[in-house]
């Protein structure tokens, strides 16, 4: 049993869901991905429930693969299975049907799982480009690493324009080691370009879905009609953490802000740390947690709510790659959700997600969005001061909670668990993979992808720049 599988089973065993419908098994995707870590379906962090289910809410329904798996799962054990028994039995059940062809499309379940198609859908087949017997007639070394191809690709990916004929000819004349250096030099030069690091550049645009800007309520430069907060600060902080060999974990852990100085006189755009106060940012130094506590994040995600589930879900989506609304990344906590604010989240159809989401939200309880005189601030006893009359037990919302199944005392603890996780490394590398490939890793690329995010969290010390240098020398990147 691999360490990752053991951890997943242990986490699933710890769930002990008492309030979640017996059909729903939120721990299943994690056990599946621990069993098949190289499955392309797991590349972005979690396999979707639809991999086995046609309907995952109670009463659940299964596709052909899910039905076969259900039948193979501890067939002699009495139903319903509790979550601990389910998690213990799932790896054996997965193995038992690995060589079967549940959907009858002439490819085994394991072949489909590792080949990137759906084992429960007969119309889905593994596809992988085939290599020609003789690649000599092509302009590029098809199916082999081709440095000329890499120069063109990296120039377009990172500089935003094609290399000149002169640059290509210079590369072709160089020897092997020199070629590698030329590619690295070209990448370094591109990472100083405005296309990469400037306002509305490639890295800036990566932050759009994390920040979700809205010009009509922007403050600062180019304010909207109702200026509430300035998301330019968020973009500056995010870009800073992704460039110049900085530590990408600071996107979540930074206790500083960043100012941007536009390019001028041939110098690129620069980003500078601001360790003290910054105009428009109200959260105190002790409670700053990078992108999660900026004025814009709190105003737009907490707004007027007591328990800002939207903020936690947006953080989970943006930095750990889990869309909780699609039941991804579920790590239910025993006896949750408590439903302190009486929103009805204890209903079975809601609890399967809220047993993860609510404890993940509690550490945001004192971060204020709008109103109550503390826009974008940390206000001790915020719930008690401003929301006490909303529900009888609402003041019992703790500041402690849980993320990825691990208990945390507050948002600082939340962030430390998040940035230390494989999920953070995977989500960060996945952003750049999709940026440069335009798609998730294929089965053939999964080894390079796996090595890349593992190096990112070890040898590369979470430097995006180092990770990208590693990326351009992979077979996946260099094969036309």
């Amino acid at each position: 049993v691999s360490p990752r599988l053991a951890l997943s089973i242990t986490a699933a065993l710890a769930i002990g869901l008492t309030s979640v419908a017996a059909d729903a098994k939120p721990g299943a995707p994690a056990v599946f991905c621990a069993t098949y870590p190289d499955a392309p379906a797991c590349a972005s962090g979690a396999v979707a429930c639809s991999y086995c289910h046609t309907k995952s809410e109670a009463p659940a329904e299964w596709n052909l693969y899910g039905s076969a798996l259900k039948a193979a799962l501890l067939p002699s054990a009495p139903r319903p299975l509790d979550d601990a028994t389910f998690a213990m039995g799932l790896p054996d059940a997965l193995a038992a049907i690995a060589q079967d062809d549940s959907d009858g499309d002439m490819t085994s379940n394991q072949g489909e799982i590792l080949g990137g198609s759906l084992p429960g859908d007969a119309s889905s087949h593994p596809t992988e480009a085939t290599c020609p017997d003789d690649a000599a007639k092509y302009d590029y070394a098809v199916c082999h690493y081709d440095s000329r191809y890499v120069l063109r690709k990296l120039s377009l990916d990172f500089c935003g324009q094609s290399p000149t004929l002169e640059a290509i000819e210079a590369l072709e004349k160089a020897a092997g080691a020199d070629r590698e250096k030329m590619l690295d030099d070209a990448l370094d030069a591109c990472m100083q370009s405005e296309f990469w690091r400037g306002k509305d550049g490639a890295v800036w645009r990566l932050a759009h879905r994390k920040i979700r800007p809205l010009s009509s309520i922007k403050s600062g430069e180019n304010p909207g009609v109702i200026p509430l907060a300035d998301y330019d600060d968020d973009y500056a902080l995010f870009v800073y953490t992704q460039i110049d060999d900085h530590d990408a974990r600071e996107a979540l852990s930074a206790n500083f802000f960043v100012t941007r100085t536009p390019a001028s006189d041939g110098s690129p755009t620069t980003y500078t740390r601001v360790d003290g106060k910054k105009k428009g940012q109200a959260v105190d130094l002790q409670h700053r947690e990078g992108m999660l506590t900026t004025a814009w994040f709190l105003v737009s995600n907490v707004m007027f709510t007591a328990l800002p589930r939207t903020a936690a879900a947006q953080a989970y989506r943006s930095y750990l790659g889990f869309e909780i609304a699609r039941q991804e990344g579920l790590h239910p906590i025993s006896s949750e959700p408590k439903d302190y604010d009486e929103k009805g989240v204890g209903a079975p159809v809601c609890a399967s997600c809220h047993s993860t989401l609510d404890p993940m939200t509690y550490p945001f309880r004192n971060y204020n969005g709008l109103g109550n005189g503390g826009q974008g601030r940390y206000i001790p006893n915020r719930i008690e001061k401003f929301f006490a009359d909303q529900a009888p037990d609402i003041t019992k919302i703790p500041e402690s909670g849980a993320i990825l199944g691990k208990p945390v005392n507050d948002l600082a603890g939340w962030v430390q668990v998040a940035i230390a996780s494989d999920e953070f490394a995977t989500a960060t590398v996945h952003d750049y993979w999709v940026l440069t490939f335009g798609a998730d890793p294929t089965p053939k690329q999964s080894a390079d992808y796996g090595a890349l995010w593992k190096s990112f969290e070890s040898d590369d010390n979470y430097s995006v720049a180092r990770m990208l240098h590693r990326l351009i020398h992979t077979e996946a990147y260099g094969e036309p």
Partner: protein, 170 residues
């Protein structure tokens, strides 16, 4: 292969055809094709106002129309400038004209310009077959455009190379 999208398309056309970002293509003479009007269609985003935070993962049904529009506009602008001021031409240089017609579609100057077209747009030299094909294309154009056949041929030759898979994708 991936479609270049609005920024790379604009940058590559600008570099190849020596046009500024705002000279490549605009609608109503005011609104940039690549940065505003067709940005989403070409695979870009419109985050601040329209809440489109991520580009589409594949090209859309109308992407070819928008790409055609941009390339044709840029090629037409380059040809117009070069034929209006041959001494400062950057792409269509040294062409010998008889009125508005090419004096000799197979001349060295025509071949050199066509090779320059490939060099600038595709960062490689043109093959003899490619040069022969575009040289021969002049007769087709001249048969349909008696007013500005040379300039139209130059525009459409550029358009042909600029809308190739090799240029639009990478």
């Amino acid at each position: 292969v991936r479609f270049k999208g609005p920024d790379r398309l604009r940058n590559d056309l600008g570099a190849a055809l020596s046009l500024g970002a705002n000279e490549i293509c605009s609608e109503l003479g005011k609104f940039s094709c690549t940065d505003e009007v067709h940005v989403v269609t070409l695979g870009g985003v419109a985050a601040y106002d329209r809440q489109i935070f991520e580009p589409a993962r594949s090209t859309m049904a109308t992407t070819p129309l928008a790409a055609d529009r941009v390339v044709l506009a840029a090629c037409a602008e380059r040809a117009k400038r070069d034929f209006a001021a041959p001494d400062s031409a950057t792409l269509w240089t040294g062409l010998e004209l008889t009125g508005a017609q090419l004096a000799d579609p197979k001349s060295k100057a025509v071949k050199a310009s066509l090779d320059g077209l490939y060099t600038k747009l595709l960062a490689r030299h043109a093959s003899s077959n490619e040069i022969d094909a575009l040289s021969a294309f002049y007769a087709t154009v001249a048969a349909q455009d008696s007013e500005h056949p040379a300039q139209t041929w130059a525009t459409l030759s550029c358009y042909a190379v600029g809308t190739s898979v090799e240029f639009l994708f990478y």
